[in-house]
Amino acid sequence: MKKYYLYLLLLPGVLFLTIFMIIPIFLTIGSTVNNESGFTIQGYIDFFQDRYFIGILLTTLRVSMITTIICILLGFPAAYYISKLGSRKKAIMLLLTIFPLLTSPVVRSFSWMVIIGRNGVLNNLLMSVGLIEEPLDILYTPTAIIIGLVHLFLPLIIVTLVGVMENIESDLLKAAESLGASRLAVFSKVVIPLCVPGLVIGSILVFVGSFTAYTTPALLGGKQRVISTFLYQNAITLNDWNLASIVATIMIVVTILIITIMNGMAKKLNPKG
């Protein structure tokens, strides 16, 4: 009786996703290991023997890694500060954090083009105060991608961490204090360890997000290709769907790997979380 209702309710969604997403994805993955003569992993062998391809993959991973680290370094203190504010101020700060998150990535990347270009706001400012003489070349470099990605994902990590920090019972901090801990000791011995799960979730979001981001590297990256622009180039400009499918599969696998590894890490760091 109950079962019957349940299936009826879930069926449309399951069917829809299966037909339009799951099957295509499995077919895409399948197509990379099939050719006329049957099963083959030649495509992957070629991919991983090619320094150019590996280079793109590694660059993307490196950019994502740096982005994640910067996001944590900037986001953690800011989140801590916000989590300590009174509820009204906190609400305002959170709104201000979420606002960029919901703003079109095209708009956000474009705004950085205006800022870090040779004649952009940043260079004009630095030159007018005499800090530099020649404009800095930031736009169209990996640095530009990193700046754009940090801007894209910093709100995400702040919001995640604020959520986690809010959930730390204030009694825990008081308990630590009453046992003789200074504020610094409270922070390092209680707050940080308790934030580890949130930090890992945030890092996964940022890392995976950076790894798969398209708009930002496409606009800010210059000749630097990352895995998603490489996928796009192969799929659309070069019409090489075999290679594009291999890249797509690799992206899926790497994404799943990242999530699994980091979740495992979180479990280790916080066995009883």
């Binding site: 008081k174 009453s178 046992l179 003789g180 009883k272």
Partner: protein, 354 residues
């Protein structure tokens, strides 16, 4: 001599006074509990002593030194929280050792002391577990151990048992009392459970609305509530506001609407000049109006409005010329609603309050 003293303390949140000219002295080695309805300021008082909160004015003296501005982490007072507040990321051992580690005590010494305190709270063998793996009562004991190990000058408990089930609550309170007495630690204990406070404390402070209404040993409070609030709080459900009070050598006569009541005068009764009489539901006498029994002392005609079976006894709501009274009586044949009865008040069962 008092170990510590709160002197004319005032505390306000958002301009609203929570504690007003609050005074409290506690002697070394005693367990004093703060008892009162929700929101009366018990937790606030405790947090003030712990140092989590600063008074707007007033002084906190500890061993005659001014401790008003000493920060929490320099006070060396143990705090046991209602929801345990154990560190979820640390094992039981590390939870308990937390305070010692901050004091840079040698590893072997820490080990010894943790084991010792685990023994005191009956938790040997649990040191490797994590808080999530313990039951409520065990968690509470870890919280106590964690507070005990720093050899605190004062131990503070904020409703430590209210999250536990009834049986455990009774066992734990015996345990807490045992440990407190064994180690002779001065303790402030907050609860709103009257029985809990009475059973555990050397002294009970009944709080209302930011002030202490009465501070006494439990038996005195039970028998001689000093104010109407206290009387009501500890179960004197019936009040009679008399018009006139006349004190004699051995008795006090009270009258209302021409009806005269006589009560015994004893040492406690002299302290108050109150004219409100308070009686517990259990302490009335009751008989049917048309009974052949001997007349009741301080008798009063009334009519049963509602009769409820409580198991142990019947409870009657009785309407009289002096107001409605709640009366409990164990009996086989209960009175029915509508029946006319006579209520009696034994002369030693009514107390006078302000």
């Amino acid at each position: 001599m008092a170990l510590f003293t709160l002197q004319d303390i005032s505390v306000a949140y958002n301009k609203q006074n929570i504690l007003k000219d609050f005074n409290l002295e506690i002697e070394k080695g005693k367990l004093v509990s703060l008892l009162g309805p929700s929101g009366c300021g018990k937790t606030t008082t405790l947090r003030l002593i712990a140092g989590f909160l600063q008074a707007n004015h007033g002084k906190f003296l500890f061993k005659d030194k001014d401790y008003t501005k000493v920060p929490v982490n320099k006070r060396n007072f143990g705090f046991v929280f209602q929801n345990y507040a154990l560190f979820p990321h640390l094992s039981i051992f590390d939870n308990i050792a937390f305070g010692l580690r901050l004091r840079k005590i040698a590893k072997s010494e820490i080990e010894k002391r943790v084991m010792n305190v685990l023994d005191i709270v009956n938790l040997k063998g649990f040191e490797k577990r994590y808080p999530q793996e313990l039951s409520g009562g065990q968690k509470q004991r870890v919280a106590i151990a964690r507070a005990l190990i720093i050899e605190p000058d004062i131990l503070l408990f904020d409703e430590p048992l209210s999250n536990l089930d009834a049986n455990l609550r009774v066992n734990m309170r015996v345990e807490i009392r045992r440990i407190q007495q064994e180690l002779g630690i001065t303790t402030v204990y907050v609860s709103h459970d009257q029985e809990e406070c009475f059973s555990i404390s050397d002294q009970v402070a009944i709080m209302n609305n930011g002030v202490i209404e009465q501070l006494n040993d439990p038996a005195t409070i039970y028998k001689y509530p000093g104010t109407k609030f206290v009387a009501d709080f500890i179960g004197f459900k019936n009040f009679i506001k008399f018009d006139k009070r006349s004190d004699y050598e051995d008795r006090i006569e009270l009258s209302k609407s021409g009806q005269v009541f006589v009560i015994q005068k004893d040492s406690q009764m002299i302290n108050t000049s109150g004219k409100t009489g308070a009686i517990r539901p259990d302490n009335f006498l009751i008989q049917a109006k048309d009974t052949l029994e001997s007349p009741l002392e301080n008798g009063l005609y009334g009519k049963v409005k509602v009769s409820t079976y409580l198991g142990r006894s019947y409870q009657y709501a009785v309407e009289t010329s002096l107001g409605d009274f709640t009366v409990n009586k164990e009996m086989i044949e209960p009175y029915r609603a509508g029946q006319e009865v006579i209520l009696g008040i034994p002369r030693n069962q009514m107390v006078l309050v302000d």
